[in-house]
């Protein structure tokens, strides 16, 4: 099926356009979704048989809703803008990497580097996230209903990482200004990451994020972690910290 045929196809009665990846090349899938804009009539898309494809629904830039009926490979929803991408399975490494805006929801688990370097938008992982979740995040909000692996929020710059479960080793290592909220245990904190006071404004942020992520938890159950800001300017006396 050609891209033009997909774009011109009559929507199904449900108003949802369906693309079957068993019969459609990745390039055609992405080109079709990338061709949508704010003026497009077709707002809802379903992708069937994703079969763990890499780089699916990447580079989207329109207020459309994409539902993926299964699990995805690397970099699903990479660099997303505006779109809502809902994965009804699990996601491979680099989920929603460098996301700018929009929403990405994964019903299952996410592999390494979920939300890496994301600048904005909301990433919701309803299962667990593996290591380096939120690495180098630059403004994205990430809510993980389960646990996160080691080195999560490594060098995280901006945004919020909310973990309803436990966090692995070296949480927030070399953290900048990102806020980390963990309800469960933290195996260890990374260099320059410390527990911080949970002030009213943080509870408000957390409350909003939990609501948006559909997470059944109370903000008061969480602890907040952030940067001690001791490593912000290089000093030889801190060399032993890392």
């Amino acid at each position: 099926m050609k891209t033009a045929e997909l774009a011109d196809a009559e929507p199904e009665t449900s108003g949802v356009q369906t693309i079957d990846m068993a019969r459609t090349e990745l390039r055609q899938v992405n080109a079709t979704l990338q061709a949508q804009n704010a003026a497009a009539n077709q707002r809802k898309w379903t992708i069937e048989n994703p079969r763990g494809s890499h780089a699916m629904a990447v580079g989207l830039d329109a207020p459309i809703e994409v539902t993926v009926k299964g699990s995805t490979g690397y970099y699903c929803a990479g660099m997303n803008k505006q779109a809502t991408v809902h994965v009804e399975g699990s996601a491979g490494p680099g989920l929603a990497e460098n996301m700018m805006s929009g929403t990405v929801i994964v019903e299952g688990d996410a592999s390494q580097y979920a939300g890496a370097t994301g600048h904005g938008g909301l990433l919701v992982i309803k299962g667990n996230a593996s290591s380096r979740c939120g690495i180098s995040m630059k403004g994205i909000d990430i809510v993980v209903h389960g646990n996160v692996g080691h080195m999560s929020a490594f060098m995280a710059q901006k945004g919020n990482l909310v973990v309803l479960g436990d966090a692995g080793d070296a949480l927030g290592d070399s953290l900048y200004e990102a806020r980390l909220f963990v309800r469960g245990s933290v195996k260890s904190l990374g260099a320059d990451c410390i527990e911080k006071e949970m002030r009213p404004e943080h509870l408000e942020i957390l409350k909003s994020l939990l609501e948006r992520a559909g997470a059944a938890a109370r903000p008061e159950e969480f602890r907040r972690y952030g940067s001690a800001r001791k490593l912000y300017n290089f000093h030889v006396d801190h060399a032993g910290e890392y």
Binding site: L26, R27, N30, A31, Q34, H54, A55, V58, G59, D61, G73, Y74, Y75, G78, M79, K81, P93, G94, E97, N98, M100, Q112, Y113, A116, T117, H119, R132, I135, S136, K138, G139, F154, M155, Q157, K158, S174, Y176, E177, Y232, N233, F234, V236
Partner: protein
């Protein structure tokens, strides 16, 4: 009364004055030396090679009459829109943050007038550079500072940076004094703090992942943009082969003389291989894969003259890239600022504390007063002139070797002045037919 002859004071080769000064500096501060630029030590280089020129069996082209082409196409392997340049000399990636906005503008102006490309750097794409660059390569770096899909699509090519010659395996640090509000805003970090540039990418490891990362970038940009992969001069044979396997359109190979904005001196001087030593293994990898001239090779690190350009091309490169030389052409380290270099404890030609942001020439700084000294229009013109001279020099040599295109230069046109250079470049030692290492000899 006659004096007894005295032994002259004899300095140590091992403990030279320079070495001892560094020991004293280290003892006083407890911090290693950080500086910009590339390796300053003497290493085998293009100076150790000579062209043979024409002879009875090789006839030359007429210098002022017969055409010698210089154009190059980069990225035709997979990209729908390969880059076409008039000259095989590009401007290397240098960051906004390390360089001022006007300096980036000047690079764009000069490159565009000369018919070539310039490259962003860590810190993202500036309007100055995009606006003044007809062809702009957008670097995709581990830090991902300023990275966004809109700029990715505005770029003409994408360069995934794995490493650079000055510091293969190393990241970077932009010190707080250069972090103005604009620089900080582009990097999503607070003003005034040291900004670490990571040494490896945050969302992939290894060649198999790189292949998928390249797929993602191609999908985001509609398979239009050439994808370059930049490697430092560490393991050029294997890194080139792996980059090709991962799907690169172009491999950028940077030897240890290639500059950096700032890194530890010990790193610059002791990690990586000289540019000359890297080219032939990289070309060999391309040849072994049947990809020489299909995947283009851009060589950087210590390119200064048209002779250097010609020698790199003769060894198998498709193009070269210049960074440090481009800065010098813009006005970096100009003796007219000698009095100010002296105040900084250095001298024109040796100033390399670019990270401190006090560049008298107003290039490697974010200080508004110093930046006023720099005229991007005039500097762009100087860069254009310099690129023209490099091209003319390269053509002069190519014609002398009887080549109607600079890409027709070949190793057979060269000999080496030293055994080391002969072994690295795999060309005969001058006056012999001996190529060290060839056929087990």
């Amino acid at each position: 009364m006659e004096q007894t002859p005295q032994t002259l004071p004899r300095g140590s080769w091992t403990f030279s004055n320079e070495t001892n000064a560094e020991i004293r500096r280290a003892a006083a501060t407890g911090i290693y030396d950080i500086r910009g630029g590339g390796a300053k030590r003497r290493v085998p280089h293009f100076d150790d090679l000579l062209f043979l020129g024409a002879s009875i069996s090789r006839y030359p082209l007429e210098g002022y009459r017969e055409k010698c082409e210089t154009s190059v196409v980069l990225g035709a392997r997979f990209a729908k829109k390969p880059i076409e340049l008039k000259i095989p000399i590009t401007i290397a990636g240098m960051s906004f943050g390390s360089l001022s906005g006007p300096a980036k503008e000047a690079l764009g102006r000069g490159a565009t007038m000369a018919g070539t490309s310039t490259t962003t750097g860590d810190g993202g794409m500036t309007e100055e550079e995009r606006g003044h660059s007809r062809t702009l390569v957008y670097q995709y770096l581990p830090s991902r500072y300023g990275m966004n899909p809109d700029d990715l699509r505005r770029a003409d090519a994408i360069e995934i940076v794995i490493g650079q010659g000055a510091k293969p395996g190393g990241g970077g640090m932009l010190l707080g004094q250069k972090i103005t509000e604009r620089v900080a805003g582009m990097r999503d970090l607070p003003v005034g703090i040291d900004q670490r540039s990571a040494c490896r990418h945050p969302d992939w490891t290894g060649p198999d992942d790189l292949e998928i990362k390249i797929l993602e970038l191609r999908e985001i940009t509609g398979w239009e943009k050439p994808i370059y992969v930049k490697i430092g001069g560490a393991r050029p044979y294997y890194d080139t082969a792996l980059a090709v396997k991962a799907g690169a359109d172009v491999v950028v190979l940077d030897g240890m003389q290639g500059g950096t904005a700032a890194t530890q001196d010990v790193f610059i001087e002791h990690v990586g291989q000289p540019t000359l030593a890297c080219i032939r293994p990289a070309v060999q990898a391309l040849q072994d894969l049947g990809m020489h001239r299909q995947v283009q090779l851009i060589v950087s690190g210590g390119i200064r003259t048209g002779a250097d350009v010609a020698k790199a091309l003769a060894l198998g490169a498709d193009a070269v890239s210049i960074g440090t030389a481009a800065l010098v052409a813009l006005g970096d380290n100009d003796p007219k600022w000698e009095a100010e270099y002296q105040k900084l404890g250095t001298t024109a030609g040796a100033y390399d504390d670019w990270h401190e942001g006090r560049d008298p020439a107003g290039i490697t700084t974010q200080d508004p007063e110093l930046m006023k000294r720099f005229d991007p229009i005039d500097a762009g013109r100087r860069l254009r002139n310099y690129l023209s001279v490099l091209t003319l020099e390269c053509q002069t040599i190519a014609r002398a070797c009887g080549k109607s295109h600079v890409h027709n230069l070949e190793p057979e046109d060269l000999c080496a002045l030293t055994i080391e250079a002969a072994a690295m470049a795999q060309v005969p030692l001058a006056g012999t037919n001996w190529i060290p290492g060839r056929n087990g000899l």
